[in-house]
């Protein structure tokens, strides 16, 4: 690892000003991706600004039709939260399937979303559930947040503080795990609310994405039969030693059908 300095601010304002003051600062929000990257010398930040002790950045609350999760809330906490389990069980299930127990005890939802790994689980939930990402300076709708591989709408130094998840009528997350990493080879979140259906797919492309054709078909008839093979063209999907783009395209259809079947109950 290269050398760096550390800063452990207590407030969002302090975190921001430390970031601005640093030559090449990097927020640390759990570190389950960042630390392995640093170990491999693939990044060289001048300063790590640890968000762990920033007040008010952790916790889960439910109000009416929304579940709000603060950015530094760990995966374990989301998975075990009774309000999440009751309101959006698919989100609790997703959180409980990230990495492994040890990773879930450290990793945070804000860190995961800000990193936007193409194979991460959370982006699928954020996008399918039509969540709003609250930052230190604005609110960003999920549809505008994930902009590309490891890229988001976050500006330099912009900090996620909270994510608002509207509670759907029904939702389900189905993941086909990479056998080596247990990341999503294909992960599919299907969410239904007020005649609206959103299908978000992670692991399969360079960035999490929705599929309009599947959503239309499911809005017409929210049933597994609505999803036909070949609805997703393989052309733009990832291809690697674990799965070709054709296989990923096929898996998406299968996972969406299974997610819908589970959501229908």
């Amino acid at each position: 690892m290269y050398e760096f300095d550390i800063i452990t601010p207590n407030s969002i304002d302090a975190a921001k000003s430390e970031f601005d003051a640093a030559e090449d600062g990097q927020f640390l929000a759990g570190g389950q991706t960042l630390i392995p990257v640093l170990k491999q010398r693939l990044a060289m930040p001048s300063d790590l600004i640890d968000l762990e002790h920033v007040h008010g950045l952790s916790g889960i609350s439910a109000s009416g039709d929304t579940i709000s999760i603060k950015a530094m809330t760990r995966h374990t906490e989301v998975a075990a939260d009774h309000e999440v389990q009751a309101a959006i069980p698919a989100l609790a299930k997703l959180a409980n399937g990230i990495g492994d127990m040890h990773v879930r005890n450290r990793g945070t939802i804000g860190g995961s979303i800000a990193n936007n790994d193409p194979a991460a689980d959370y982006p699928a939930a954020v996008l399918a559930l039509h969540a709003t990402i609250v930052t230190d300076r604005r609110e960003i709708l999920a549809d505008h947040f994930f902009t590309g591989m490891f890229e988001t709408a976050l500006e330099e130094g912009e900090l996620i503080t909270e994510i608002h998840f509207p509670i759907p009528e029904a939702a389900s997350y189905m993941k086909f795990a990479n056998p080596a990493t247990r990341y999503a080879l294909v992960g599919v979140m299907v969410a239904k609310s007020h005649n609206n259906v959103r299908v978000a797919i992670t692991g399969a492309g360079p960035c999490v994405f929705r599929d309009a054709e599947m959503e239309q078909a499911l809005m017409g008839n929210f049933s597994p039969e609505s999803i036909k093979d070949g609805m997703i063209p393989a052309d733009d999907l990832n291809t690697d030693i674990h799965a070709s783009r054709e296989y990923r395209a096929h898996l998406i259809s299968v996972m969406v059908r299974r997610a819908v079947a589970e959501a229908v109950g």
Binding site: M1, P179, Y247, V254
Partner: protein, 782 residues
């Protein structure tokens, strides 16, 4: 040999004595050891598969604060050391010419030939400084065309890796009677042909390789603590063959070793490099691989492509078998490398089945990949896969029942002992009985109901079986040295080495059991060139067969010597004295003396007969086995396949093994279950992949999939114990590798059985979900 009179202590699931330290974090592995004043070393590895090294500039790196030395191929050339020799037991090609052995220097000299090949050793005050320095070394590579796959390497026009090896061929090989095979084929009703792949895998012991070296300028002696399975042979190669320092000047020790599986058997560049560095700097030097470096530099295993042909009659009788293999060696001849696809893969061809004739040939080419060397089984898993896969494939092609086909062709007991068509001495066993017991234990009665249940969930269930034949014993000689301390402790030193197999327990169990002493008093020492004069290390499932036999032999000699002491006390002839359950006694008299009393007496001249010196019970004995033993057994597997995704769930696993006498069933079970897991890994997920440019695609645990707890089925294991072998003193047949020999064919057979309705009859390993899905889709389309 006399396999009777193996007394108490045998057959008992004795808990392991080493476990307390392992469970409390008190084990001492290489990276847990540190010496005063120690420096650290890392290895700069080639990023190129094949390239000329036109220059290496170390100026900037050397100037970095904390850097102590940087050693390059140029330094190595100047030092004049010899290359690392191969010890392959097969050394001649078919035409009698020598195998082509390119010079394997620990550092690349002028040219690199695989990604990961050591280019420079950096020694510094800390690992971080080493890594900083590596980034400052400027190496100019002039890329050359490379070849990664063995089938490509032997084609005309392929990039040539070594001038001495035209068409990249190191050697070719044949075994068996070609004429008889051709005759059998011409007479048979059917010839079934199957091309198959034994995928390239790597052992991944959870402890990476590492070593710690020190040098005493006063005595000129080196000490090397090394995470190695083969201490004595390694010392000889490193000290005598490579460095020329004389083996008496290298004390080679393996501390606790975190798994080996063959991959820690060979002689590697890095320990040699740090021996050079420790003398140069007169400071201890430690090196420890990262996991990602392990993928690049630990020898890989398997990687054979084969064409297998089975000739059989209409009634299913096997007549002949023909196997042609191309086995990848990587860029160099590793320690045993050329042996694996040749001799190692040939001996068990045909398995426990009867044939008129078998003919095996192999070509072993070099490629621009990491060298290959034995990995658990080293040739026998390949042979077992070829044999038991083609049986199921032939059954599918000819509309036969694979279970009946096996039943019909197993070598009957009345044929034993016999010499197999491959020259293997099969002395004992009962293949038909082991087969029937395998079937009987695998809950066939409940199978149809489980098939229905799977079908109702949209899944396909299948059953598969394999009948493996093993040959074990590894290095033939072993020493066991016993000495009794005055405080009652018993020092037991053995030259074999355990990397998790539990010798500290099993060997102590044999010694204490035989002598009627307390196992807790035994102080065990292994894998240390100063503890025993010779040592065969670990390899070929030899621990118990050869090491255990040596312990028993020494124990027996102690008893014989003890009888003389007892006879002297009783004033009778020694041949009148008998020994049982820890007591010397004379039948028909009330003379009695315990072993402990005899031990106490051994240092008192008054208690000894005239022809005995004090310390006469402190005995070291070397056991030498005859021919290798023949473990065998059956694996039965049930799988459930999700045809929509291609996912395989291994849902039932049964093993019946003939390991002869079972010394400690708990340890034997552990060996089998661990072996099955590795076989399952090879069958379903593990795969080392190089791209066409020679880059390693599976370079970390992020890409190389390994079985986890939720990938494994519950395994049921039984032992057929009615056929102890007379080839060693314990009647045992090696248990260490059998699990991963029998597993791949049984699992693939079960999957193909599940998919037979689709018309899928073969899929190459690893059977990843995508491969299974594609096989189904392709079958549907055709």
């Amino acid at each position: 040999m006399d396999t009777t009179n193996i007394t108490n202590g045998i057959g008992k699931s004795q808990e392991r004595r080493e476990d307390f330290r392992f469970l409390t974090g008190a084990g001492s592995y290489i990276d847990d050891m540190n010496l005063d004043g120690q420096a650290y070393a890392t290895v700069l590895r080639s990023p190129e598969a094949h390239a000329d090294v036109s220059s290496i500039d170390i100026t900037e790196a050397l100037a970095l604060d904390g850097v102590l030395a940087i050693i390059t191929g140029e330094d190595w050339k100047v030092a004049g050391y010899n290359p690392i020799p191969t010890k392959s037991a097969v050394r001649k090609a078919i035409d009698g010419s020598d195998l082509k052995e390119p010079p394997h220097h620990p550092l690349a000299i002028d040219r690199v030939r695989y990604v990961g090949q050591p280019v420079a050793l950096v020694v510094a005050e800390s690992i971080d400084v080493c890594k900083d320095a590596m980034e400052l070394i400027d190496v100019d590579y002039d890329s050359l065309p490379s070849v990664s796959h063995q089938s490509e390497a032997i084609k005309d026009g392929a990039p040539q890796i070594w001038d001495i090896a035209p068409n990249n061929i190191c050697l070719d090989f044949e075994l068996g009677d070609q004429k008889a095979q051709k005759k059998a084929f011409s007479e048979a009703d059917h010839i079934v042909t199957l091309n198959l792949v034994n995928n390239r895998v790597t052992a991944v012991p959870i402890e990476p390789r590492g070593a710690l070296a020190s040098y005493d300028a006063g005595t000129g002696k080196y000490t090397l603590w090394n995470a190695s399975q083969n201490i004595h042979a390694g010392r000889d190669t490193i000290a005598d063959a490579v460095l020329g320092i004389g083996k008496e000047n290298l004390h080679h020790i393996a501390p606790d070793v975190g798994g080996g599986f063959g991959v820690k058997n060979g002689v590697y560049p890095e320990p040699i490099l740090i021996l050079h560095a420790t003398k140069l700097l007169e400071r201890p030097v430690k090196w420890f691989n990262d996991r990602s470096e392990s993928f690049l530099s630990d020898t890989h295993g398997r990687d054979q492509v084969s064409t297998v042909q089975l000739a059989l009659d209409k009634d299913g009788t096997f007549r002949g078998l023909r196997t042609e293999t191309v086995g990848n060696l990587g860029a160099f001849c590793a320690t045993v490398g050329p042996f694996t696809p040749t001799g190692g893969s040939s001996r068990t061809q045909g398995g426990p089945y009867r044939f008129d004739a078998i003919y095996y040939t192999a070509i072993a080419p070099f490629t621009n990949t990491c060298p290959l060397d034995p990995y658990r089984g080293a040739g026998r898993p390949e042979g077992s896969y070829q044999m038991d896969r083609i049986i199921d494939y032939a059954a599918a092609q000819l509309g036969m029942d694979p279970i009946e086909l096996r039943r019909k062709n197993l070598i009957p007991t009345e044929d034993l002992p016999m010499k197999s068509p491959m020259g293997l001495d099969i002395d004992c066993g009962n293949f038909p009985e082991v087969f029937e017991q395998t079937i009987a234990m695998s809950d066939r009665d409940g199978y149809d109901a489980r098939v229905q249940k799977s079908a109702a969930a949209g899944k396909k269930r299948g059953f598969g079986i394999s009948m493996y034949l093993e040959c074990t014993g590894g290095g033939p000689k072993e020493e066991a040295k016993v000495s009794f301390r005055e405080d009652g402790k018993i020092d037991l030193s053995v030259g074999s080495s355990s990397t998790g197999m539990g010798h500290e327990t099993a060997f102590a169990q044999i010694l204490a059991g035989h002598l009627g002493l307390e196992i807790d008093d035994v102080v065990f020492r292994q894998a240390d060139t100063e503890a025993t004069a010779i040592g065969g290390g670990h390899g070929g499932s030899r621990g118990l067969e050869v090491g255990g036999s040596a312990v028993l032999q020494t124990s027996r000699e102690i008893v014989e010597a003890g009888k003389k002491i007892a006879a002297h006390k009783f004033d009778v002839d020694a041949d009148k004295v008998e020994f049982s359950e820890g007591h010397f006694h004379v039948p028909g008299s009330n003379h009695t003396m315990t072993m402990r009393e005899a031990i106490d007496a051994q240092n008192d001249p008054d208690m000894l007969p005239d022809d005995m010196e004090p310390g006469a019970l402190n005995i070291s004995s070397v056991f030498e086995r005859g021919i290798i033993s023949i473990p065998n057994g059956g694996h039965a597997v049930e799988v459930e396949v999700d045809p929509e995704t291609g996912t395989i769930k291994v849902d039932g696993y049964w093993v019946m093994d003939d390991f002869g006498t079972i010394i400690n069933p708990m340890l034997a079970d552990g060996q089998v279950m661990g072996g099955v897991a590795q076989g399952l890994g090879q069958a379903l997920m593990e795969n080392i992949v190089y791209d066409d440019g020679g880059q390693l695609v599976t370079g970390s645990l992020m890409d190389y999939a390994m079985p986890r707890a939720d990938d494994m089925p519950r395994m049921v294991i039984g032992y057929y114990e009615d056929a102890p072998t007379a080839k060693n003193l314990l009647g045992v047949k090696g248990a260490g590798e059998a699990g991963c020999v029998g597993a791949p064919p049984a699992i693939v057979n079960a999957v193909c059985d599940a998919l037979k309705d689709f018309g899928v009859h073969h899929i190459d390993m690893p059977l990843t979900p995508e491969r299974v899905w594609r096989a189904i889709e392709d079958a549907k389309a055709s």
